[in-house]
């Protein structure tokens, strides 16, 4: 996924996959030698947040900007001042993981003046299998409410249609169709489609940037890789358990 802007904001509906995409994008940048700061600006989700794996990300050279210590575990809208410093640092690529819907996106609003001074990409992550972004009018509404809450203009969409573990390439395709329709009617480009890495090969024919991702924040019973009778899969699963789970 090639995004030119130094500041990349992932926003969108609640539960649309912003955090997974932000994590994968930050790791992708770090692997490519960039100096990355990941801002966990999620003030609405109590679980499955970027900050939950701050230590592992630090091990990959990624700075996680989030409430520290006890406050990381509090259901309080804490916003840390370090964000201003990161936005101003021309050496840094800043990935911002915004909370869901307009209430979550409100936290970004206070940085709108700082962001408008600079070039930024604000990408709306859309999963058409989620209850409130299933069609063009609801996607339009999501965009409108988030732009109003943030005082910023979205610059594009990221297609992220999935059904979790039951995602198939045809689900990805049908979601992309809906989003492309929304893209036409709203005049906002679809920058990329985020696709679970194991499905990426089946979708090579799509005329769109595919961003292969690996699901990082999982419930405990899925952290143990599924060991199948397939020997290759067994070896891959063992490798994954041994090494850092976030490395490719």
């Amino acid at each position: 996924m090639n995004i030119r802007e130094r500041i990349v904001i992932f926003a969108g509906a609640f539960g649309s996959g912003k955090t997974e995409i932000a994590l994968n994008y930050a790791l992708y940048l770090a692997r490519n030698g960039q100096k990355v700061s990941l801002v966990d600006l999620d003030i609405v989700s109590p679980y499955f947040r970027s900050r939950d794996i701050a230590a592992e990300l630090a091990g990959q050279g990624i700075e996680v900007i989030a409430p520290a210590g006890e406050l990381a575990q509090a259901d309080l809208p804490v916003i840390v001042p370090r964000i201003y410093g990161a936005l101003a640092d021309p050496e840094l690529t800043v990935v911002i993981d915004v909370g869901g819907d307009d209430p979550g996106a409100t936290a970004l609003g206070q940085f709108s003046d700082e962001l408008k001074k600079r070039k930024y990409a604000m990408l709306l992550v859309v999963n058409t299998c989620r209850p409130f972004t299933r069609d063009v009018p609801s996607i339009a509404k999501m965009r409108e409410t988030i732009e109003r809450a943030t005082h910023l203009k979205a610059t594009g969409f990221i297609a992220n249609t999935n059904l979790g573990s039951e995602t198939t390439s045809s689900i990805v395709r049908s979601g992309l169709e809906v989003l492309q329709e929304a893209s036409k009617s709203l005049g906002l480009p679809v920058v990329a489609a985020a696709v679970r890495a194991d499905l990426a090969l089946e979708l090579e024919d799509l005329e769109i940037n595919i961003f292969p991702i690996k699901i990082i924040l999982k419930p405990p019973w899925l952290r143990r890789e599924v060991v199948k009778r397939d020997r290759g899969a067994v070896i891959v699963a063992r490798e994954n358990q041994r090494g850092c789970p976030y490395q490719e």
Binding site: Y47, F48, A74, R130, L163, G164, P219, P220
Partner: protein, 350 residues
């Protein structure tokens, strides 16, 4: 809608309530169940229902009392500290025999505790919580799809027995996302409720809903009636699930999300040649004592795994009745046991 959606447990529970014909929801926000009021605040107006953020949990449960008394399908929800606040109301509702659904997406305790998941409200849910000889039917889903199925069942059981039904989840179940489907049609025909206070008419005697009974003879009679009803629920409504228990030497007992973790550990144990199985109560009250006790014929021992310091293990001991050793492994305070930890405990017993 037979089409699949990706939803959080909390959201799916809200949609399931709507599908079950619930049009009244009163609650006060608390992490980690706030997605449920958030979802219903959007959804209830769409279906002509009422979402009301009460001024407190105490107010919400008493609004439930009123709405249920008027014959409506009604729900409230909270997480552990908020459920404690609702206990007085629950006792009144059980005493007055009013159907309703109460959701607890539990978090670490005691006190304000943490916002991370926990199962430390098991005893409160299954052994009382409020005062008096009453019982809640307690359903413990382990997946987002089961949240949907059991929520719909909860409304039916509540109406069938004129009794409050609790959905006992935890923060993890509320927050995690899984694919779900919902039944196609909203049930519109609710069961008749001739006892409801729907306005006085001359063709029937006055309906009075109260939990007050000053005459001890009559209160004892009422208690006998309640106990007979609870006995019927015990006979007819026990639900559980078993996984690889047929030849199991180590039977792991766990409910809700912990059963998912335990199942993963059982799979890992089987790969190592250990005969492990999983017994998962779905109804925490009535508890599947007999079904679990039967496994003591073949099993060497039992391992109860909970996200608390040892609560359901008391019921496992009652079920096993001293015939086999019952061990316990738990994490608390919002810490979640891992499959590896559970596997290590199984290996000790194999």
């Amino acid at each position: 809608m037979s089409e699949k959606l990706l939803m959080k447990g909390n959201e799916a529970l809200g949609e399931a309530a709507v599908r079950a014909g619930c049009r009244l929801y009163f609650a006060y926000p608390i992490t980690p169940q706030s997605e449920l009021p958030e979802y219903l605040s959007r959804r209830m107006p769409e279906v002509g229902g009422v979402f009301l953020q009460a001024e407190s949990e105490v107010a919400a449960i008493n609004m439930v009392y009123g709405a249920s008394g008027a014959g409506a399908r009604v729900m409230t929800s909270s997480s552990s500290p908020g459920i404690s606040l609702k206990q007085e109301g629950l006792s009144y509702i059980a005493g007055a025999e009013l159907p309703c659904v109460v959701v607890n997406m539990a978090r670490g305790g005691p006190g304000l505790g943490s916002i991370q998941p926990s199962q430390s409200d098991y005893l409160q849910a299954t052994k009382g919580g409020g005062h008096g000889d009453y019982r809640l039917i307690v359903l413990a889903p382990a997946s987002v799809q089961e949240v949907v199925d059991l929520t719909i069942l909860a409304f039916d059981l509540a109406d069938k027995y004129r009794n409050p039904v609790m959905i006992m989840g935890d923060g993890l179940l509320g927050q995690m996302m899984e694919p779900v489907t919902f039944p196609d049609e909203v049930k519109k025909e609710l069961p008749p409720k001739p006892w409801a206070t729907t306005g006085w008419t001359k063709d029937r005697p006055k309906n009075i809903i109260t939990s007050l009974e000053l005459q001890p003879e009559r209160l004892e009679e009422h208690n006998r009636h309640l106990q007979a009803k609870y006995a019927q629920i015990v006979r007819e409504e026990i639900r559980w699930d078993e996984y690889l228990t047929g030849d199991a030497e180590v039977v792991v007992v766990a409910y809700g999300t912990v059963a998912r973790i335990a199942r993963s550990a059982v799979d890992a144990a089987r790969e190592k040649g250990i005969k492990a199985g999983l017994f998962r109560p779905i109804t925490l009250w009535p508890y599947p004592y007999d079904a679990l006790g039967r496994l003591a014929d073949a099993a060497k021992n039992f391992l109860t795994v909970e996200m608390n310091c040892g609560q359901m293990v008391e019921d496992v001991r009652l079920a096993v009745d001293g015939r086999r050793p019952v061990y316990f492994y738990g994490r608390s305070g919002g810490m979640v046991p891992t499959p590896e930890e559970v596997l290590a405990e199984i290996e000790k017993l194999a």
